[in-house]
Amino acid sequence: MDAFTQNLIFTVLKIAFVLTFTLLGVTMVILAERRFSAFIQDRLGPNRTWFGGLGQSFADGIKLIVKEDVIPNHVDRLVYLLAPVVMMTPALMIGAVIPFGATIPSGELWLPLLGANLENLVLQIANINVGILYFVSVTSIGVYGIVMGGWAQNNKYSLLGALRASAQMISYELPLGLSVVAVVLMAGSLSLGEIVKVQQEGFWFILNFPAFLVFLIAVFAETNRLPFDLAECEQELVAGYHTEYSSMKFGMFLLAEYANLITSSAFIVTLFFGGWDVPFYDETAHGLAGVLLSVIVFAIKISFFVFLFIWVRWSLPRFRYDQLMHLGWKRLLPISLATVVGTAILMVLFKDLYH
């Protein structure tokens, strides 16, 4: 088998791995969120299905799929049906550029039918040289699902939710992009593989704490999680943009929210916590075992941030709309601009130390 065919098959396997990881992750995260919120509120949470509630999300999934699928008469059918798809696609697309493990050297991995890998196997679906821009652009199109869904349902609550979502996304994209610029300055590259490599050889970019803080807050806003979930705000807007969705179409919105949660955590880890880098350990030292360890460490780091997302959601109240805009434009934007300038100045001052 020639290297090209083998690469093709490995790429398909990598895509399958990332999708499986994300979707299985979603079911686990939903369960974790329900159990942990129950803990915070001094309840028990779902603990009966399978072993201690492990099957709860699958049971819920089956319930959502077999439920009656109602399409209200007053909706704009085409946009209404398209919205859950448009919501789900970007959430799954983001995984394509995340490096999720150390490179497997040629000849290390042996699979039945395929044989040993002929070339170095990079554990990343596509190492494009504009990886970060890909992240920024794909998160920015994530808002279309919400806006289309909100508009198509033809009622004022959903429309208000959609309007809030679009204004919020545009506002928080600026600090998000600018804090990423600080990381790009430090790494000297837009490619995510390169960013992880620079962190592995030097230090984790968490040292640029202001950039991390701005990025974290902006990511919370982009994923529409509490305290930023004004788009669905149940006290004011019933359920916001997914009020009139039922059955699996509602399930798609739910899936997309949690898939976004996982990919965003993966991005926080990749940009600021060294990606799959295992601290004080040379991943290439023990062959396949080292690579496996790096993948597991990456998953653990992601879990930590998913946990943080859940923790914040059940601890903080929701913002008021004017507070949201105030934070975005008058606080985060100046801070992120200052971060970019400050990072640039520091990099010039300590150039010898750095490179």
């Binding site: 946009v79 040289n129 504009v130 821009l133 652009s137 920015s140 199109i141 679009s166 992009g177």
Partner: protein, 161 residues
């Protein structure tokens, strides 16, 4: 393979561009325009212009069109807007003139073709070098124009005291 992808993208771009101007509902027009931008981004990728493709999606599809959609949804125009005849004719004439203006460079392209092996990669490095050396003047002018537009927009929103 590349040709097949190009044809799919080109057909998508042109057909959604036609939908933009024929659709009566403004929201549908905006969504069709978004799909045009996506097809264009795909064509940029085929031309090795990765940076441009990503910026196309992030800026046009991700920010500008969301604002368009925001305004259209806020005004909630529902197939009631139409253009009167004199404006239609003027628009048609100007549009045709624009098409002819675009046709000339298309026939000039043959002369400037570069073999694929010599084609530069449109990544951030190459674009940055070009932007800050050869094209630094237009770049700065563009930024000043944008600044003026921003200041103007803020002035308009303030009430005269």
């Amino acid at each position: 393979m590349e040709l097949a992808i190009f044809i799919v993208l080109a057909v998508l771009a042109i057909s959604s561009a036609v939908v933009v101007i024929t659709q009566k509902s403004p929201v549908y027009s905006v969504l069709a325009l978004v799909s045009t931008f996506f097809a264009l981004a795909g064509i940029y990728v085929l031309l090795n212009a990765y940076f441009l493709a990503m910026i196309q999606i992030a800026v046009y599809a991700g920010a500008i069109m969301v604002l368009f959609l925001f305004v259209v949804m806020l005004l909630n125009l529902k197939e009631q807007y139409y253009v009167e005849n004199p404006k239609k004719i003027i628009g048609g004439v100007l549009g045709l003139a624009f098409v002819f203006a675009l046709l000339f460079p298309i026939f000039e392209i043959e002369k400037n073709l570069v073999p694929e092996s010599q084609m530069p990669v449109g990544d951030a490095y190459n674009i940055g070098i070009r932007l800050f050396t050869d094209y630094v003047f237009p770049f700065e002018i563009a930024s000043i124009i944008l600044l003026i537009a921003t200041v103007g927009a803020i002035v308009f929103t303030k009430k005269h005291s």
